[in-house]
């Protein structure tokens, strides 16, 4: 993933929106990141820390909520969380008729500022 580019677009988006609300300082930014996007929280935090000095984000904290992909097997109705190895096969019955829900989130949830 391109975490630095992503973070630049986070800061830019928040900055533009903050201007419309008359907000000059940001205290907190919250992101939601799905497992399937392969965006790395550690790299996002690193990018945030690297970009924030001297900006309206200089005192802001970054909160990242990670969302797992939730799988449902259509054959045996077993529900399970996708593990780190991306196997789209039911661990109970071996069926590949799997529905995957979530895990593709990649968005700014909210920000706080004054």
């Amino acid at each position: 993933m391109h975490e630095l580019t992503l973070m630049q677009s986070v800061l830019q988006t928040v900055e533009q929106d903050a201007a419309q609300h008359g907000i000059n300082r940001i205290n907190k930014v919250k992101l939601v990141i799905g497992q399937l996007t392969m965006a790395l929280p550690d790299s996002l935090i690193f990018a945030f820390e690297a970009l924030k000095p001297g900006t309206m984000f200089s005192d802001a904290s970054l909160i990242i909520e990670e969302r797992h992909a939730q799988c449902t097997c259509h054959s045996c109705q077993q529900e399970y969380k996708l593990d780190d190895y991306f196997q789209f096969v039911c661990p109970t019955c071996g069926s590949t008729d799997i529905e995957v829900e979530g895990g593709k989130e990649l968005y700014i949830d909210y920000y706080e500022g004054d």
Partner: protein
């Protein structure tokens, strides 16, 4: 003050990709995003596929590379229209680049548009171009661990071509393991075992591709 945003990142690319997809659908052109590591044989597969299909359908190509137009020159020799994108360092194509590059190609009303992405198994997987099919090439000398090492690109593939099968006797590449790994990660994907060099498997691949092109093209008439 707390401000709820719910703004998607990569949103700009998704918007352009959506736009591309609408344009491709209206034209009834099948668009393939061809991805792989550098050197696994994307361009050679493309040359051989074009030479098999060019008498039956109209083909256009977008070539993505960091530098040079060597690949575009190779494709041009096949007698099809091609536009080269040089990303000058960027490791993937995005929807905006494709949107610019496809304009003059679409004026010709092709049945098939192939976008050959920059050779890279990581970043191209994350950028939707508006394509119908994601085709990923893996080649025998790369080793059979690539599926599990780079899961995203294979997990999102509609079709996987295992190339350089003629080199199989000289390596310890494990075909059964690759099939098993693909089955675990992306059980619905189509797999073709090919050798672009000696032509093995290209007949099956080309026939399948032609079926997809006709299926998409039928929407053009409706």
């Amino acid at each position: 003050m707390k401000v709820k945003l719910e703004t998607r990142l990569l949103g700009a690319n998704e918007l352009i990709a959506h736009n591309n997809r609408t344009i491709f659908s209206n034209q009834g052109v099948l668009v393939i995003n061809l991805m792989s590591s550098p050197g696994s044989g994307k361009t050679t597969i493309l040359e051989k596929t074009i030479s098999r299909l060019k008498d039956q359908i109209k083909i256009a190509v977008i070539e993505g590379d960091l530098y040079t137009d060597q690949d575009a020159q190779r494709i041009e020799q096949q007698g099809v229209k091609v536009v080269q994108i040089n990303t000058e360092g960027t490791c993937h194509l995005d929807a905006g680049m494709v949107s610019h590059a496809c304009q003059e190609l679409l004026a010709d009303n092709p049945d098939l548009l192939v976008v050959e992405n920059v050779g890279n198994l990581v970043c191209p997987a994350e950028f939707d171009l508006g394509e119908d099919l994601r085709a990923v090439v893996i080649s025998v000398p790369e080793g059979n661990d690539k599926i599990t090492k780079y899961p995203l690109v294979f997990q999102r593939a509609d079709v996987i071509l295992v190339n350089k099968m003629d080199l199989l006797p000289f390596t310890d590449f494990d075909v059964a393991r690759v099939q098993k790994d693909i089955g675990l990660i992306n059980p619905k994907t189509k797999i073709f075992f090919v050798s672009a060099r000696n032509g093995d498997g290209l007949e099956e691949w080309s026939s399948w591709l032609l079926e997809q092109i006709h299926a998409k093209g039928r929407t053009k008439l409706m």
